[in-house]
Amino acid sequence: MRLQVKLAVYNSLTKVAIITLLGFVILFSINKISIKHLQKRLIEKKEKLIANLSNVEIKDLLTKQGKFTDYNLLKEEYIILQKVKSNDKGSRQHFLTSVRIIEGEEQEYQILTSTFSYSGSNYELELGETMASVAQLDHTISIFTFIILLVAVTLTLVADLTFSKFLLNPFYRIIDQKINKVNDPQNFNYQPIPTSTDDFKILDQSISKLMGKMTKLLVTEKEFIANVSHELLTPISIINTKLENLLNKERLSEEGENKLFSCLKSLGRLKSIINSLLLISRVENKQFIKTDIISTRTAVSEVYEELAHRLLMKQLSFTDASREDFQFEGNQSLFHTLLMNMINNAIKYNVDGGSVIVETERNESGFILRISDTGIGMDATMLKAAFDRFEKFDSIQPESHGLGLAIVKSIADFHELILSIDSQKNVGTRVSILFPK
């Protein structure tokens, strides 16, 4: 869950909790207050009633039924007065909430029961007042609280989402522009993302600093490789020429000659490694121009021509099943090297009598050029490290120095092409180059 959503949900939940609690407190206290008011009114009524009582009235009231009952039209209040036989002197009173049935109508009443003496007789007076108004108040307050709750939560959620989106916007921009979109630290944009949030400023600065360090390291590494490789070429030249001249001497034994050639061969390998590293380093440093218009079909057929003899040697069949041609801007000789290495790999790691197939496909992500072979294949571990430098897995190819796919990778990166490789041991390998739209 995104921080933005989490914050909004958290805020809403706390608000729900607070408002609910508040609602209950208000409900409870309003209930209490209403009952208190009711009771106060009942006492006032009782006192008024007693004060207005006279002998005549009591007699009048009681003689009729022995018990006097009265209620108003809507049965909101009632009164019961009856004579009780009690030895108690003085007046007592208590409240109670109870259901009474008046003329078949059941209602909850707040009831005040009190006894008093009047001219030597004890009377019990019961005054009741309906609780309906209290219940109604409770109801109204509940609804009101609920509506406030709903409105508050909605408003909070919307406001929080909007605000946190606004607040976190620089954060996502930093992630996107300073981390996700950075393919090459050397092209890193050090322009800070505008934000007033200090935390994000710190994040931005830290990433920039880190990138600075990385770029420095990368540049140093690249320079190191370039310099070392370059410095190595002169001594190799010297050894190479010395060995060649030595070979021209008449007095050499066959064994001596063989050893010298073996030295030259190793030297050739060394030279090849250095040149490969130099090429990778130059491609990575973008020391090539990308202004040639390259046609994939022409490029494939050129490479085929150069490699035809190798296909023959291994009796491999070569099928160019490409359905369409694709043209793009790039560096012709580098792309040639890329294809050369790819197709050469398909030949080198193939089995005698196998086949090499070139196919094309166009889908929503772009144009795909695919080279498949029926060779020895790779397993998952090999596949993972396939594009690493100096990675070679089999002892069948002792002369390979394992830089072929690293060269392919650097050239593909330089042209912003996406390479993917899938392979199955003893079935074959398929390498795809995607030319994104």
């Binding site: 030249s237 010297i238 060649e244 001249n245 020391q287 003899h309």
Partner: protein, 225 residues
């Protein structure tokens, strides 16, 4: 022919001198920009083998100075460890006849010198004869007597290179690099050149015995004369 080697690596320069000396070239050395300038503007040479990174300056300046003099037509081959594509282009644009990145093979250097010689001086003898075969270097043709051999381009180049470097063992790698150029990783398995040599030998052997075309086991090939 006079050759000036402008190279500050003494042992490399001396090896080149030894090799070319045996081929009949007259060698002079210049070890830095200053001595190179002195020599170049006093004498004229058929070939100047020019290293770019020299003590005291850049070989390219020397080249442009030389090329600005219309009276001079010394052939210049740049020999450098700066294998940069841009350097190559700049060098050739500045008027160099060829560009050979270090490390190079001496036999390759010789082949380049020959190629330039043929190109520039329009040699009368653009044909080389060997044991009854006639190599027409200009038109890439080989004939035996009046019969023309049907060689592929690669086969011709191999034959030509071996003839040029006769009496020397030419390793497979050397041959591969000469014929196919330096395709890095791809060249690491150089045995495939054998197929071409096999075909070439077959085509030659139809006409005459070719025991002078020797296969040196596990190394390469040699044409003995």
């Amino acid at each position: 022919m006079r050759v000036l080697i402008v190279e500050d690596e003494k042992s490399l320069a001396l090896e080149m001198a030894e090799f070319l000396g045996k081929e009949g070239y007259l060698i002079e050395h210049a070890w830095n920009i200053k001595s190179a300038e002195e020599k170049i503007f006093v004498n004229s040479y058929d070939f100047i083998l020019l290293d770019l990174g020299l003590p005291g300056g850049d070989g390219l300046t020397l080249l442009s100075q030389l090329k600005s003099d219309a009276t001079r037509d010394d052939a210049v081959i740049i020999l450098t460890a700066r294998g940069d594509l841009n350097d190559r282009i700049i060098g050739l644009e500045a008027g160099a006849d060829d560009y050979l990145p270090k490390p190079f093979s001496l036999t390759e250097l010789l082949a380049r010198i020959h190629a330039i010689t043929r190109r520039r001086h329009k040699l009368v003898t653009n044909e080389v004869s060997i044991n009854g075969f006639l190599l027409d270097i200009k038109n890439h043709r080989v004939s035996f007597g009046s019969v023309s051999l049907n060689l592929t381009n690669k086969e011709f180049e191999i034959f030509n290179y071996l003839v040029l470097n006769k009496n020397r063992v030419i390793s497979r790698i050397n041959l591969t690099e000469h014929v196919w150029g330096d395709i890095l990783e791809v060249n690491s398995d150089s045995n495939f050149v054998d197929v071409h040599v096999k075909n070439l030998r077959k085509k030659l052997a139809i006409h005459t015995s070719i025991e002078w075309f020797e296969t040196v086991r596990s190394i390469g090939y040699r044409i003995n004369l």
